[in-house]
């Protein structure tokens, strides 16, 4: 039998045929390769969270190879002399071992911690982007809810991870967590006893937190992140308004090659940034805190930043204890309100917001075009209110540090927080609504009269007036015809229209070179409401 000569050029085609014979991949793959994504920098915030999560998984697996989730008491005999001979849990000893005696262990630990902080930060900023642009509206309410749950899971992932090293700080955090469980009416003591396996701290909690931290919570996160991305993929991403863009299309780039390549580059840049932070900025130096002892705590005991708002709320809560004089008497401790009710409300209210807004506006249509924050002043005001509340609570979570550094009375800081928590959010609502209305007004003025040129003209009758550059056609008298607002950026400066020379940028650039009007396929300049006819009629 004659052996057929192998034609190398045909190999990829043959493999392709073989795969398609078996999996019928060609048709769906074509759709995948062609899928169009709208592009804007603000759509990349969620990606940072995704990429941080990948870094968390990678570095976390490394850490599990060395960590011993046991509360067995051991005497430390490692190279860190300050703690040599100290009794401590095996969990803490193995964390020290990981930091001092594993090559690159400290680097990986810090990478894990920084990635976690970045994960939570990018989730919050991504949520803010989605909120302020109205991207949560129908049909995306479910994905918004999943996002809120992801934040909640991230919160618990962070807290359990923070507790694992069993150092002085994390033990204090655990103690407060047990107190929060105890504060729940009726079931408090039973809940705490169930979680800790008896009296606090017991000998089980690190092992239980460990399995929650490395299996249960990451499993939930993975499943929900997959659902989150799957829904984005199915529903297609929202887009900003602009020429050609309608509620029924997606204008952007096909996924391959350019869009996917950009994502890959962005992942590497995020990964690199985390690695730089992990190497250069110390985080959670557990060896300084010593092993956890119930009798010891240092001042300036702050949790990670995303827990600080809760700590702040707990600090600001007045000592209002509710006594229920039935039988021997029952108590609802003041801790219950900020830590259990407050935390619950902070997670349920955002989940309910999409339906609340839809009901109020009687808006049950699907929206795929984003709104600028100024075009929904009330929503922006509510967001500013929530953000202010969060900020006052977070700052109050460090009020002892602020009091110490700025020589302010601690009690004054607490009172300022209490008053600020009530007064500042409504103020933020009012101010941001007024700013939104002002910005809207200015947009309309520019569309009606043109851009302010800064050129002042004196009329024969002695009157001074500013010359305006119309953005569109003018009538017979030279007055601009009013333009409709298209929901997108209105150019407000002459150099946005390509008129003026740029400021001197640097030695190597010619001063005279005129700036180009910003043109990019993702953000085309606005030229009135774009219609499909205009774009395609020229071909």
């Amino acid at each position: 039998m004659k052996r057929r000569k192998l034609d190398l050029a045909q190999v990829p085609a043959n493999i392709g045929k073989g795969v398609d014979d078996r999996f019928q991949a060609a048709t769906p793959l074509r759709g995948l390769l062609n899928k169009v994504f709208p592009d804007h920098w603000s759509f990349l915030l969620g990606e940072i969270a995704l990429f941080s999560f990948v870094v968390l998984l990678l570095s976390g697996v490394f850490l599990t190879l060395f960590f011993d989730p046991s509360m067995r008491e051991v005497a430390y005999d490692g190279p860190y002399t300050a703690l040599r001979g100290t009794e401590m849990s095996a969990a803490y000893a193995s964390s020290l071992h990981l930091s001092f005696e594993v090559r690159g262990g400290l680097f990986m630990r810090q990478m894990h911690h920084w990635a976690a902080l970045l994960f939570m930060a990018s989730i919050v900023i991504h949520m803010a982007r989605v909120f302020f642009t109205g991207a949560f509206r129908k049909p995306r309410e479910a994905n918004w809810t999943i996002g809120v749950i992801l934040f909640l899971l991230g919160f618990f992932a962070g807290f359990t991870g923070y507790s694992l090293p069993d150092d002085g700080l994390s033990g204090t955090g655990l103690r407060i967590a047990s107190a929060i469980m105890l504060s729940i009416p009726v079931i408090g003591t039973w809940l705490s006893a169930a979680v800790f396996g008896g009296e606090y701290p017991g000998e089980l909690i690190i092992g239980r937190f460990y399995i929650a931290h490395v299996l249960l919570i990451p499993g939930g996160l993975l499943a929900l992140i997959a659902a989150h991305l799957g829904i984005v993929f199915k529903q297609k991403h929202t887009q900003w308004p602009g020429p050609m863009r309608t509620n029924d299309n997606v204008v952007g780039e096909r996924m391959f090659p350019r869009y996917a390549l950009k994502q890959g580059g962005f992942f590497m840049a995020v990964f690199g940034t985390i690695a730089l932070m992990a190497g250069l900025f110390q985080i959670n130096p557990i060896w300084l805190f010593g092993p956890y002892r119930a009798a010891e705590v240092s001042s300036a005991s702050q949790p990670d930043w995303y827990v600080m708002f809760m700590d702040g709320l707990v600090r600001l809560m007045p000592a209002w204890q509710i006594d229920i004089p039935i039988g021997d008497g029952y108590v609802i401790p003041p801790l219950f309100w900020p830590a259990v009710v407050g935390l619950g409300a902070l997670f349920t209210l955002p989940m309910l917001y999409p339906s609340m807004e839809a009901r109020r506006l009687k808006d049950h249509k699907s929206h795929h075009i984003l709104q600028r924050p100024r075009d929904a002043p009330e929503r922006t005001g509510v967001g500013a209110m929530a953000f202010t509340f969060f900020m006052v609570a977070t700052i109050s979570g460090a009020n002892d540090v602020i009091a110490d550094k700025f020589h302010i009375s601690l009690n004054a800081m607490t009172w300022a927080g209490r008053i600020g928590l009530i007064l500042l959010p409504p103020l933020a609502y009012y101010i941001s609504v007024r700013i939104c209305l002002g910005l809207q007004q200015h947009d309309r003025e520019v569309l009606a009269h043109g851009v302010e040129t800064g050129i002042i003209r004196r009329l024969p009758n002695g009157k001074f007036e500013e010359v305006h550059q119309p953005l569109g056609p003018v009538d017979d008298h030279g007055h601009p015809l009013p333009l409709d607002y298209a929901g997108w950026v209105v150019p407000k400066k002459m150099n946005r229209l390509g008129a003026l020379a740029p400021a001197v940028k640097g030695f190597f650039f010619p001063v005279e070179k005129p700036v180009e009007a910003p043109v990019s396929p993702a953000v085309p300049p606005v030229s009135g409401p774009g219609t499909r006819e205009e774009i395609t009629s020229g071909r």
Binding site: N34, L261, E296, P334
Partner: protein, 369 residues
Amino acid sequence: MTVTHGGSHGTSTGTEPVDVNDPKLSRFDIVREGARRDDIEIVTYESQFDGQNSKAEKRIVRNIALLFLVSGLFALAFVVAFIVWPWRAELGRSMGDYFTPVLGITLGLSLFLLGIAILAWAKKLLPHEVSIQDRHNQPSSDDDRLITGQTMVYMVDELGVQRRPLLKGAIALGLAPLGVAAAAPLIGGLIENPHKGDEPMMYHTGFDPVSNNGQLVRLTRQDGSPVRPDDVSVGGQITVFPGIPHGATNEHADSPTLLVHLRADDAERTRSAAEGDEVNKGGMWGNYVAYSKICTHAGCPASLYEQQTNRLLCPCHQSQFLITDNARPIFGPASRRLPMLPLEVDEEGFFVARSDFREAVGPDFWERP
């Protein structure tokens, strides 16, 4: 031509379908036809450069190549540093102190520059593109909704639960216990009765004579040595633990206590306040008083003692307790005073606890009387 969007398949791009087997077609023509079949119109697709091999393009290609190479260099530096850099922690300043920063800089820059190189490739070299894809966000057709709905109702109908009420009851009665059975091991295994036993966890500390064979428990330091009255100077305070095995460990996390030696005038005020209180009556010994160190708010050690004002401050949430008035909370979120440990001195001259704390120690909870 005018085009209505969201219209039927095939016409929305405004181009006629082409035969992809036509040998005259370029590869891009085939790609464009593929996009058309996915209801995508490639509106613009243009190179960023004038013609092939323009000077600008060459410059950018050189820069990107440089980025890749430098990224590789840093990666190499990372591996070399990982292997040869002295990394063990030593006493005093040493090269080992810089191991982690060196790893961070080399790996970080390597990854970051690689990212920049890829981004530059995508943004500077690849053609700019604007494509429009139909969103296909119409709901399913009315027919399909009807069919699916009817199918589901049909499935329920076929089971006949509606017509067979006996089954309905039997399912509820049969499955509910099974559901409980599934949850029972998990919940049952975790449940611990917090109020059971001779030493109920909420009302018992290491100072209870029960855990010391009925003998009064000494106040000891962290190392287990007992405390004499002379050991605490006037105005001073120390943390004491129950003098039982493991008394100073986290096994007895509720037991740490603050023993304060008050100045005479403060002691007088403290005593008169304590004597006026039913629970704390007679709890002091001379000018000494002992309070639980575990904050009644969230359980942190309330350990910052302000000698001048006789306040105890909890560093976690800034609750403040007034020692001279039965450790009553005077600021912050704590609503309950710190329990007092009744003191005595035994025949050998060491402090002992006359009994356990007379109030529940630690964070507040629902069923505290």
